[in-house]
């Protein structure tokens, strides 16, 4: 099936599925396993969280899921079609039209203002600039952006900048939005607000959310949590409450000999 047909295709097949994907990195002659034998399914409008300490392979898995980095072993399917059999440009086409991305670092075009940056993916699909800017403004309002959209990112605080990046990831009505460590650089209050916003986006926009985080506090909204450790994925029954989810996560990490950070211990105690 051609990538354009996939984009237009509306089926009940899992949005994204990985089958035994493994990614190795070469570190001065030593092979490091970033992702090891990961098999997951992400359904339409679901909320999936990858939780694990730093360097557990979350970002590497995100890159595999978004079609940015080909796994060494295993298969990644989008709507049932093997993603990496498409060319780089076709995968870019898929990302542009159906994937939204919020990366760890605030990546944007420094010479464009916030609304222009938000509108950029829509303009890239061929929309007129004026129409795209108008859509960007509406979306920013809808998400509660309080900064000045006419100003550049450098004049926004981190929280407002993250809202703008979420708006940018939603501008093309994607199937799925990937958020890699979205709560970094935010204080507790801002992180809470952003967590609620992400959940709202999941429900209001009927868009699947995939969050990679090392902060267990923000797992509450997820309806599926994958624990990652040393590139491996452990799907556990998280129970009903966030505390149960956290305890399950903690006990698993302890069982494999990994400790949570001091900061996260504090969250758990509270």
């Amino acid at each position: 099936m051609d990538i354009k047909e996939i984009v237009a295709h509306d089926s009940n097949v899992a949005l994204i599925e990985t089958v035994g994907v493994t990614k190795l990195f070469d570190n001065y002659g030593n092979h490091i396993t970033a992702v090891s034998d990961v098999s997951i399914k992400i359904e339409t409008a679901s909320f999936v969280a990858f939780y694990g300490p730093a360097a557990s392979g979350k970002s590497a898995l995100m890159r595999i899921l978004t079609g940015v980095e080909k796994p060494d072993i295993g298969e990644t399917l989008v709507k049932g079609e093997p993603l990496y059999e498409f060319s780089e440009d076709k995968r870019a086409f898929l990302r542009l039209h159906k994937f939204g991305l919020l990366t760890q670092k605030i990546h944007q075009l420094a010479y464009l203002n916030v609304e222009e940056n938000v509108a950029l993916p829509l303009i890239a699909t061929g929309a007129k600039e004026r129409v795209a800017i108008e859509s960007a403004r509406k979306l920013l309002d809808q998400l509660g952006f309080k900064g000045n959209p006419k100003k550049k990112f450098q004049y926004q605080n981190h929280y407002q900048a993250k809202i703008a990046l979420i708006a940018r990831s939603l501008i093309n009505n994607p199937w799925i939005v990937f958020l890699d460590e979205p709560y970094n650089d935010l204080n507790n209050e801002e992180s809470d607000s952003l967590s609620k916003l992400v959940s709202k986006v999941n429900l209001d926009f009927r868009v699947a959310i995939v969050v990679a985080t090392s902060d267990p506090v923000y797992l509450e909204e997820a309806n599926k949590i994958y624990l990652m450790s040393d590139g491996r994925l452990i799907n556990f029954d998280a129970g009903n409450s966030p505390v149960e989810k956290l305890k399950a996560a903690m006990s698993h990490l302890e069982s494999v000999g990994r400790n949570m950070s001091k900061e996260n211990e504090h969250h758990i105690l509270v």
Partner: protein, 406 residues
């Protein structure tokens, strides 16, 4: 992504990095400036020289000289025959003779030109309207014209003070200009021409020069002319008339011959300058590529980010190409503007002194058409190279760069 939007973001990107862009383009600006200025000045100088040459002679005149081996000389019969060639409507005879010029007890050796008055028009030498260089039948001193070099030699710093003075002139006949001496096998003979009156002092040449009526020299034994200017009524007949004269065994030339060789010299200079300019620009391009290389490695995050959000390689390649076009266009316009400002300044200075010294206005700085064409072609080639380079380099930057956390 549509091309207009790509143009816009390429412009915004460059204006956001104004200083870096200007630095990147500085070598190219300098190269284009030097190239434009040198070729413009060379072209202007070439035009001035050509204009002067055309002005001083006539494009309708054929210069006729004796044959290469001297077997056919220009005597009065030959002159008459040349005048009778089809297409020739007028001839001007000229004999260059060595002579002596005496005034107030002092004598000097001079070059004497035995000519008719039409010679002055032909050589763009302006004579006062009442002056005629023609043998007078009356019993009075014959007219003679001298140049200011000669009048100064006799102590007349103001040339007009020499006017009306009575002088004496002798000519030196040789085997080359006299048939009689040739037949008698006499090497040379000095002949007194008698008394003359200075009727005009002209500003022409630095060395002493004297003009006497041609008829007087003929009457005193001059047989052969040094050269004849044969005028054609229709320039299109020039080649045919030249062939007819050459068929008489004589040698001909025309100002167009000199002009074409002069233009050829300036053309060669222009080619050398173009080559130097192209070399300079090649060096500038190499340094620009180096700057672009480091620029692209600094922009890995930006390019990777664009790929991450789904902009394809084509879009990125076109955006970078547009940036290059802006950069090179800006460099070209700035380089040409600086060169033109310098050229116009030099032109103004040159003409200020020229007009102050009684010369006409000449455009010293003109951008030649071939340089403009070469410039445009170079501009296109340059952009193709730079665009290909950026395209190639940006292709190796993956979307992964846009997902890096630092």
């Amino acid at each position: 992504m549509n091309i207009i939007y790509l143009c816009k973001i390429a412009y915004l990107n460059l204006s956001d990095r104004r200083k870096a862009a200007l630095f990147s383009a500085s070598g190219l600006i300098l190269g284009i400036c030097i190239f434009t200025l040198t070729t413009g000045l060379n072209s202007g100088l070439g035009n001035i020289v050509s204009t002067e040459m055309i002005k001083q002679s006539q494009d309708k005149a054929i210069m006729v000289q004796q044959s290469q081996n001297g077997s056919v000389k220009i005597d009065q019969d030959t002159a008459k025959n040349i005048g009778g060639v089809e297409g020739i409507n007028k001839i001007e005879q000229e004999a260059d003779i060595a002579g002596k010029f005496s005034f107030g007890g002092a004598t000097t050796d001079v070059v004497m030109l035995a000519v008719n008055e039409g010679y002055f028009d032909l050589n763009n030498i302006r004579l006062p309207s009442d002056v005629v260089l023609k043998k007078s039948d009356r019993d009075e001193p014959q007219p003679i014209i001298v140049n200011s070099g000669l009048s100064r030699l006799f102590g007349f710093d103001t040339p007009k003070d020499f006017l009306g003075q009575e002088v004496f002139a002798d000519i030196l006949l040789t085997k080359q200009n006299s048939r009689d001496l040739n037949e008698q096998n006499v090497d040379q003979k000095q002949v007194e021409l008698g008394k003359f009156r200075v009727v005009a002092v002209i500003e022409h040449g630095k060395n002493p020069l004297v003009y006497i009526p041609h008829q007087i020299a003929v009457e005193h034994g001059l047989t052969y002319d040094s050269q004849i200017w044969a005028m054609v009524s229709d320039p299109s007949q020039l080649v045919v008339s030249r062939i007819r004269i050459e068929n008489m065994g004589l040698k001909t030339s025309n100002i167009v011959d000199s002009l074409s060789s002069t233009r050829k010299i300036f053309f060669y200079i222009q080619m050398v300058l173009l080559l130097a300019g192209l070399t300079m620009m090649t060096i500038a391009v190499i340094s620009l590529i180096n700057v672009l290389k480091s620029d692209l490695s600094m922009r890995k995050g930006e390019i990777g980010f664009l790929k991450t959000i789904g902009i394809n390689q084509n879009g990125i390649g076109i955006m970078l190409s547009i940036e290059n076009i802006y950069l090179t266009l800006f460099s070209a316009l700035l380089g040409i503007a600086i060169a033109s400002a310098i050229g116009i300044g030099l032109n103004a200075g040159f003409n200020y002194f020229a007009i102050e010294n009684g010369y006409k206005y000449y455009p010293l700085y003109t951008i030649p058409v071939q340089s403009a064409i070469i410039g445009i072609v170079t501009f296109i080639i340059l952009n193709v190279i730079l665009s290909y380079y950026c395209w190639y380099k940006s292709k190796s930057i993956t979307a992964k760069e846009g997902m890096k956390s630092a």
